[in-house]
Structure formats: C-alpha cells, structure tokens
Symmetry: none
Subunit: 226 residues, 2 copies
DNA sequence: CAACTCTTTAAAGAATCTGTAAAAAAGAAT
DNA sequence: ATTCTTTTTTACAGATTCTTTAAAGAGTTG
C-alpha cells in the first residue's frame, strides 16, 4: 500500500490522521517538523505527503517546495482557519489539495485516495512478476515457496521500476533520473551493467519475465504469466 | 500526442495558444465557450483542458466542474488580472494550475507539459496498419496478439511516416528530408534499400498494407483493411 | 583495519544497423 | 527488339549501440 508522510507538530493530530489512514491500509510515517520530514523523504520514497503549514523549523510551505524538487509526489496541505492568504501561496507552489482544520478525517481519506488516483499511483508496494514478487517495503524478492531474499538496492529499484510499468519503454535517461536522481552525473552505461546483473540473477525465470533491450532507446520488461 | 482542449471566447488568444501547442506536437481542439467545450468532451476523449474563466454561456468554473465529473483530466485555468478571489475558488474545485493573462506562451507550454507528466499522461501516437500497429513512443510494432517487437529505427520512421498519410505519395527527397534531416548528404537510393527491408519484414501482412512504388516519383502506402 | 558487498567506470568484444556500390531485374521509350 | 531509365536486390564495410568483463572506488560490518 502507499506510503504516506504525515507532517504536523501536534502529536494528537498526527495520531488522528494515522488512525484513519492505517485503517485504510496505508503505511504512515509521522514526522513532527519539516526538517525531519525532509530528511526522511530524501532517503526513503514517499507516495504522498500531508503537511501542516504552521510548523517549527522548516514550515509547511518550504517543506512543500523541497519535496517538489525531490520527487513528483502529491501533497495535501492542512491549514488552520483564517489563513486564507496562504491558500493562494500554496496554489502557486503547486500544492494539490488542502484541508482546513478542524477537518473530517473521512474527508481526508477521500482526498488522499483521490490524489493517489489522480497521480496514477498504484497503492500496492507488491509487484508480481510471474512466479516471483517484489516487496518495495522491504526491498526483498519473494519466491513462490515463500523464501524472501534481499538483493542489492539499485538492482531492486531498477527491476521494481521496470516492473511497475510492464511493457513500457524506459530510456536510460529516465531510469537514471527516477532511480539515481536528476542530479546524477555518472555514465549511462551504469544502467546496462545493472540490467546485466538482473538478467543473470533471474536467468532461471526467463519464462516468467524478461528485460528486453530496445536498441537506441532503452529497456522494457515483459511479463509472460501471472 | 496528447489532445488538448482550449476554451476561450477570444479567438486571438485561442490562436496564440494553438500556435505554440501545435508547434510542440500537441493536438489542439478550440472551443469558444463552455457549452461547446463540454459537448465535445462528452463525446471525444481529451487529455488536458485549458480554460478561460470569463466566458459566455457556461463559464470557466462550471465547465471545470463538469469536466471533472466526466473524467480525471488535468485542467489549467486562465484568469484575467484582478480576479484573485477566483484563484481560491478554483483551488477548491480542483484546478491543477493557473495562469494570469497576459501570459508567456512558453510558460504555458511548460505548465502543460508538467501537468501531463504529473498525471502520467503520455498520449502515445499509435498508427494502425491493418492488423499491426506502430507505437511512435517505443518505436515498436504491436501485433494483433499483443506481441511487441522492436524494428530498426530508420525502418520504423519510414513506415511510420508513410503510414501517417496513407495513399499519399512521398518522394525520396521528401522522405529523406523528413527522416534523415535536410542536411543529409547521402544517396537517394538509401530509401529504396529501407523500403526493400520493410517489404521483406512485413511480407506476411501483404493483405493488410503494402508499399507501392510510383515510378519516377516515389512511394505510397496502401492500407486494405482496418 | 581487513574482508566484504555493492556500485561505478572504462574498455574490449559482440551484435546490430545503416549506407554504398554494383549487379540484376523491371519498366518505358524509341 | 533494343536501348535507356529506374527500381530492386545483394553483399559488404563502416558506424553505432549494447553486452560483458575486470578492476577500482565507496561504503559496511565484524
């Protein structure tokens, strides 16, 4: 399920949000201030962020801006009453939706779901590639017999990305931007090497799925069975 | 490419927007009022809408609301100066972005692209030639059974070009200019060789489509069935 | 710190694609 | 029927792109 970052300095508000979201099967990460939230998002992927505007250290708007630079994720702002002016500001910064405190938690859940849908984010963190599965939460490969194995991070991310959109072409550019980050300076051939290792590692599953080279363009993952 | 609905009662604004968008390869549908726009969107699929707020009949906000109910499409609002209040209203209705007139067309294009990316929309340009299809995004041939195959780039481009305007004559000159670039120095016969390769590759689909030689002039692609 | 794994780089080796040139075939024209 | 023009076919060499390998660098762990 989707991982949601909840940033608010009031613990009871976070608790309230968490309760409702967890109930819907979402994974919730709580942070009390923008700084902690940013530090987390820099290392871990987050599918959606719910951010309170008024916060110590890094405030909601700045966090929003920073997150936007990290990744194209949907952001839901929470404002206190009487901050109308802030709405416009948020609008400009590219917030996707907002709620005014006090809000109905049910509406929060609805909006979260709508945003995930709008961003075409597939909530499940489990991907099935023929007889194996990839679990994004643990970065593990799960075999049919239930065996779980950890594989190198980059390899996992690459396979996971390709597997998230089977049959779709990914250019090396695109993969590097998505996995290594847009500021990556290195060689494009790095992708090739990881692809090679994945092919090697999963050679025995050739009849389940295969990474296909599209000459001059990139790679594509084909799945042959469920 | 993505199809964009432009709704504005001022013809010259529509014209301006159209010029820039078409230049980027988008397909543009112009409508002068909300009613016409809605009627269109109800029957034809649209990837993104650019809507002016002030319009006769059905105004921008109402159109926005109606479109939202039709389909989850990104909407870019265009406001005239001094309608600050409207921004908040639009925000609530779930507009995705906005621009204030007069705007820089280049920025419009940037925002359109950002929205399409955010919504994960990349309207692929598919061409159908009898029982096979060509996907420009991936440079691949898609067979009826769903099999996707990569063919050499130049061959693909040639077939794609011919297939984009079936039955229309293309001189070698024209093809070279379009595919190889106007600065291409090489021999015209190169086209012939690629045509030969295409004919060979798709020999089994002769009853679907065929590349016909027009002696002394060039080539033409005929399609025999849908 | 030494051993380990993971990641990246660099470069050689493979595979594939592309353009050329020339021979063969086909189509017009005389 | 012969000649001329244009297209098709063939084969190959050069160019481009991908794969593989090996080794260095970075980061971790005992």
């Amino acid at each position: 399920m989707a991982k949601i970052l909840v940033v608010d300095d009031e613990a009871h508000i976070r608790e309230l949000i968490r309760l409702y979201l967890v109930d819907e099967g979402f994974e919730v990460i709580e942070k009390a201030n923008g700084e902690d939230a940013l530090a987390y998002a820099e290392n871990q992927s987050v599918d959606l962020a719910i951010i309170d505007i008024m916060m110590p250290k890094l405030d909601g708007w700045d966090l929003c801006k920073e997150l936007r630079e990290l990744d194209e994720m949907p952001i839901l702002m929470v404002t206190s009453k009487g901050e109308a002016q802030d709405k416009i500001k948020g609008f400009k910064l590219g917030t996707d939706d907002y709620l005014v405190k006090p809000f109905d938690p049910v509406e929060l859940v609805l909006r979260v779901k709508a945003l995930l849908k709008r961003y075409r984010i597939d909530a499940s963190s489990l991907i099935k590639l023929g007889s194996i599965m990839l679990d994004r939460r643990t970065y593990q490969v799960i075999y049919k017999d239930g065996n779980q194995v950890t594989i190198p991070m980059k390899e996992f991310e690459l396979l996971y990305k390709l597997g998230s959109y089977t049959n779709q072409l990914f250019t090396r550019d695109h993969l590097i931007e998505q996995i290594w980050g847009m500021d990556y300076e290195g060689d494009e051939r790095t992708v090739d090497v990881h692809i090679k290792r994945l092919r090697e590692r999963f050679a025995e599953f050739e009849s389940d799925f295969k990474i296909v080279t599209i000459r001059g363009l990139g790679y594509r993952l084909e799945v042959y069975r469920d």
